[in-house]
Amino acid sequence: MPTRYSTPAIALHWLLALLIIGSLGIGIYMTGLSMSPTRLKLYNWHKWAGVTILLLSAARLLWRLTHQPPADPPMPAWQAQAAHAAHWLLYALFFAVPLVGWAYSSAAGFPIVWFGVLPLPDFVSPDKALAEAIKPWHGRLAYLLAAVVVLHVAAALKHQFVDRDGLLLRMLPQRGA
């Protein structure tokens, strides 16, 4: 069993961490703005980032399912189980949050054009009532994702600074490599 995650897994983890935290931040900030070119720009960046997260998460899931992750350091069984449950919940939300956002955008009549170049198919047909029904779910799921991310980070920090078991090293780029 390997002692650390593979380089592609580490690269995808940190790239997605940046994209997801960035999208959550932009998402919270942009919804409070009044209509302006800045708001329009942020909404589009948020959507482009969301589609990128969806694609990278698909690649990451495939990698995860075909490559052995490193062993857990010694810890109580309930902690290991909770960690694994949180990881699979994170994966589920990596797909659910962008997909529900995409569906909302389609239903609201704003198709997504990835990076302003590639028009994506409408997930559902434009329907104002449906858009209003979907909208709160994108937010709820995103806040759930944010909460699990906070838990995930808190647990990693606990392992690093309280347990001092080197768990975090498994996900850090190898020094001098």
């Binding site: 209509m35 070119p37 329009l40 609201a108 009549g109 704003f110 198709p111 997504i112 170049v117």
Partner: protein, 187 residues
């Protein structure tokens, strides 16, 4: 014989009225919409309130006249945040320019059921010459006229100030229409 003269005269009048008379637009089956591209995303809006006066004899299109008056306040994309912006000074400035209009200057046939209507489009105090291709399809007494043309929004100062940036909202705006008409003479 003397009685025939007024009858013939009135028949001629009726014929003249049918061929050159005005056509009525069926509002429920008609639509004027526009497509604007925002960061590459096509977004379709509609004008909900407008009136049209159309007098066209397909056999003599040169004599035809077409005019539209559009309530700028009735424009919307169907999304509350966007629709609240449309009437503002930077966009249609509805308070100062409540109406946009199109008045034809020349109509000509370009093929079977196809016409080209040249005219003046006045929006927000600016007037531009446009040429509008129109396709007419008939089914019994009902006719449908459809077409689309592209205008440059900045020619009409639609989207001023920070919104004048065409990398955010494209300068080209496609205007599309579908008009259900009654009373149009056969093609």
């Amino acid at each position: 014989m003397n009685h025939l003269v007024p009858v013939l005269a009135s028949l001629t009048l009726v014929a003249a009225a049918t061929s050159a008379g005005a056509q009525a637009v069926v509002p429920a089956q008609s639509e004027i919409s526009f497509v604007s591209k925002q960061m590459g995303v096509p977004v379709e809006g509609k004008f909900k309130k407008w009136t049209a006066q159309i007098a066209l004899d397909p056999k003599k299109p040169e004599a035809g006249k077409v005019s539209f008056v559009i309530d700028t306040a009735s424009a919307g994309f169907g999304a509350a945040e966007t629709d609240a912006e449309v009437p503002k000074a930077a966009w249609f400035n509805v308070a100062k320019f409540p109406q946009a209009s199109f008045t034809s200057t020349a109509v000509r046939a370009t093929g079977p059921g196809k016409f080209e209507v040249a005219g003046q489009l006045a929006i927000k105090g600016s007037t531009q010459n446009v040429v509008v291709p129109v396709t007419v399809a008939q089914s019994g007494a009902n006719s449908t006229a459809t077409g689309a043309f592209t205008i440059k929004r900045l020619d009409f100062k639609i989207g001023e100030g920070e919104w004048a940036d065409t990398s955010m909202v494209a300068n080209e705006v496609q205007v599309k229409f579908k008009l259900a008409l009654t009373g149009l003479a056969p093609l």
